[in-house]
């Protein structure tokens, strides 16, 4: 498996590994650490991995073990049923569908409202950073975000009505 193939498959599997780790650990940041350790372990075994299916299976096994180890480190007094956790399937998530819908509705907003929403939620910027980036005042930003929320609510309502 080449480096490019490895990177492509790992980025494809990252949401699944993150969800699995979050399901076991319960903390997104600790789950992200477990995923990174899993990627390092997979990189060391890269020579033995030939197919993407093997990589997916191996990544899930490793991320579960790492997550259990992480829980044992953070909560040593907590009794963990490791065998059952190892057998649990990762939770299904419709994140991609929800994101596509959200992006579709956000793209219909006016430019200032769209930029403010994407900066605040997708890019994870704070209000102060958005004020500096856009040059808007705090009051103006609040007003813009409020109008954007109202427009999105109406758009969601309209979208629901359109569904069969």
């Amino acid at each position: 498996m080449t480096i490019e193939e490895f990177k492509r498959d790992i980025l494809r599997l990252q949401p699944l590994m993150q969800r699995t780790a979050e399901h076991i650990i319960g903390n997104p940041d600790s789950a992200a650490d477990a995923v990174q350790e899993t990627v390092i372990a997979l990189w060391k075994q890269r020579a033995t991995i030939k197919e993407s299916k093997d990589l997916e299976r191996l990544s899930l096994t490793i991320v579960k073990r790492r997550s259990i180890d992480q829980v044992r480190k953070e909560k040593p007094l907590l009794s963990i049923d490791a065998e059952s956790l190892m057998l649990t399937e990762p939770p299904q998530d419709d994140l991609e569908e929800r994101y596509q819908l959200a992006r579709k509705l956000v793209d219909q907003l006016p430019k200032r409202q769209r930029d403010a929403i994407l900066m605040k939620y997708e890019d994870g910027l704070s209000n102060e950073e958005i004020e500096k980036a856009t040059g808007m005042s705090r009051t103006h930003l609040y007003a813009t975000l409020s109008r954007a929320y109202s427009t999105l609510r109406n758009a969601i309502e309209q979208h629901k009505n359109e569904l069969p």
């Binding site: 990177k7 993150q18 929800r98 929403i117 969601i156």
Partner: protein, 242 residues
């Protein structure tokens, strides 16, 4: 009121999806950087293993080649330094002068080639000169044609005494008293021996008198009994005089 809450929940889910997607994008970017870093580390660790043996060798070879090139560029040549050329010319002239004198001493008759050699020394560049073999050959031929006769001694005797070096040599080429018949059979050797007997100081100072050979028939220079089988005792004494 309930509808308003549902609408807010829907909006929250929508914004959460945006937020989660943004976080995942950041994490994927971090993972991508991590993989690139791992790949770079792998390259830095593995690639030098193959070249580790060669890299120092190439450095040494490059340094040696650079030093050699610098030395070749900085090396002074005779073309670059005219003083050296002149110095070499002077040295050649000196060599030629001494050679010509030797020729005069050995070949008593030939005097003109001295002038030719000097001219050559003035005109020729700084090239190591060979011994004048061209002058020696005719002399050797003459000697070989008449090996039994002391040709040079006779020629010198026919000429009157003059104030040149060659005449002094001629005057001293008279056969010595203690010369053996074997010396007469080898005129070349006689000439050489006669030349050896001539002292340079003697030529400058006409009042110089040769030291008489002490008669030490059966004793060495140090008074010890002479080995009867030893025949070059007199020759050793001559060397001592010089």
């Amino acid at each position: 009121m309930k509808e308003e809450k549902e609408r807010n929940d829907d909006l929250k889910q929508l914004l959460d999806a945006l937020e989660e997607h943004g976080r995942n994008a950041k994490r994927q970017q971090q993972l991508s950087d991590l993989i690139d870093q791992l790949a770079a580390q792998e390259k830095t660790v593995e690639v030098p293993r193959n070249r580790r043996k060669l890299v120092p060798l190439w450095w040494a070879m490059g340094a040696a080649a650079a030093c050699l090139l610098l030395w070749l560029l900085a090396k002074p040549t005779t073309k670059q330094i005219p003083e050296m050329e002149e110095k070499n010319l002077v040295e050649v002239e000196k060599v030629e002068a001494t050679d010509s004198i030797k020729i005069e001493e050995k070949d008593v008759v030939i005097v003109k080639p001295v002038v030719k050699e000097e001219l050559l020394a003035e005109e020729m560049p700084a090239i190591p000169q060979k011994t004048p073999t061209m002058v020696r050959k005719p002399k050797m031929k003459v000697v070989e044609e008449k090996p039994e006769e002391p040709i040079l001694a006779e020629v010198i005797l026919t000429e009157p005494a003059k104030s040149t070096d060659t005449e002094n040599i001629g005057s001293n080429t008279i056969p010595a008293v203690n010369e053996t018949p074997a010396d007469n059979q080898k005129p070349q050797r006689r000439v050489i021996r006669s030349l050896n007997l001539v002292c340079y100081e003697c030529q400058k100072d006409p009042e110089y008198e040769f030291a008489t050979k002490p008669n030490m028939d059966n004793k060495t220079l140090f008074g010890q009994p002479q080995d009867p089988n030893m025949k070059n005792g007199s020759l050793a004494f001559e060397l001592k005089l010089h």
